[in-house]
């Protein structure tokens, strides 16, 4: 089984991503709550890339790989295009989100809270965002 998906950069493809991830996690032994968290975190990264780095250009695409190891699951989101380092990005404070009536800014906070580790690699317009979840952790 190929644990990889090519996702074209349109917002309406996000449902396809969730279906793929749901299948990948179906025999993982994780609870529905944790599965939903992992799907959400991967989707948040993909939605950010699709909207902010690729401008919803349907001819661009992301590749999503799922690696299930003994004690952890690794999701890789690979694409070309403008790099974005979410590790150095400072998320807005909730009270500022409310005050400014912002509709965005919560996604990266979700990813950082849900995942145990995040790695970003960018080289020659080739970006890899690696989201790592230890099993039996938070």
């Amino acid at each position: 089984m190929k644990h990889e998906l090519t996702l074209y950069c349109e917002k309406n493809k996000l449902a396809e991503l969730r279906t793929f991830l749901d299948k990948e996690l179906s025999n993982s032994g994780l609870t529905d709550i944790v599965k939903n968290e992992l799907i959400l975190a991967v989707e948040e990264v993909c939605a950010n890339r699709i909207i902010h780095s690729h401008g919803c250009n349907p001819s661009s695409h992301l590749r999503i790989k799922v690696k299930k190891l003994h004690h952890r699951i690794i999701f890789e989101i690979i694409d070309s295009g403008e790099a974005f380092d979410m590790l150095t990005y400072e998320e807005p404070r909730l009270k500022d989100v409310i005050k400014d009536k912002r509709k965005g800014g919560l996604g990266i906070k979700l990813v950082k809270t849900i995942m145990d580790a995040i790695e970003i690699e960018s080289k020659n317009s080739h970006n890899i965002c690696r989201l790592i979840k230890q099993l039996n952790s938070k």
Partner: protein, 114 residues
């Protein structure tokens, strides 16, 4: 896929959400809430019992209206969320900012006591 229907009963209006809210359709939720505010609805309930999934795009819509609810003295609450959906609100601490009730009965009780 998201379906939004609206039910009005006396002075309270319920937005019934069915399906999944993500970046592709959160604008529909945004428009639905915006329209209720424009029409001066003061008691807005969200029936989330059919909500299977919500991403930050959907959460952001609720957050962006919190100031308006306060300014316009709108009573806003969400009820019926499944465990996995309410967990997403918990992760960000949004359950401290938005009134969330377990079911319709509790929601109505809150409305009547207000």
């Amino acid at each position: 896929m998201l379906e939004i229907s609206i039910q009005t009963e006396k002075d309270q209006t319920t937005l019934i959400l069915k399906g999944q809210v993500d970046a592709s359709n959160s604008v529909e939720l945004d428009e639905a809430i915006g329209e209720l505010l424009n029409k001066n609805h003061k008691k807005i309930l969200v029936d989330g019992s059919g909500l299977e999934y919500i991403s930050s795009a959907g959460l952001g819509v609720f957050m962006s209206y919190l100031e308006d609810f306060e300014e316009q003295k709108v009573l806003f609450l969400i009820y019926g969320l499944s465990e996995k959906v309410i967990n997403v609100f918990h992760i960000l601490g949004l359950d401290q900012l938005i009134t969330i009730k377990a079911n319709k009965e509790e929601a109505l009780q809150t409305i009547h006591e207000a």
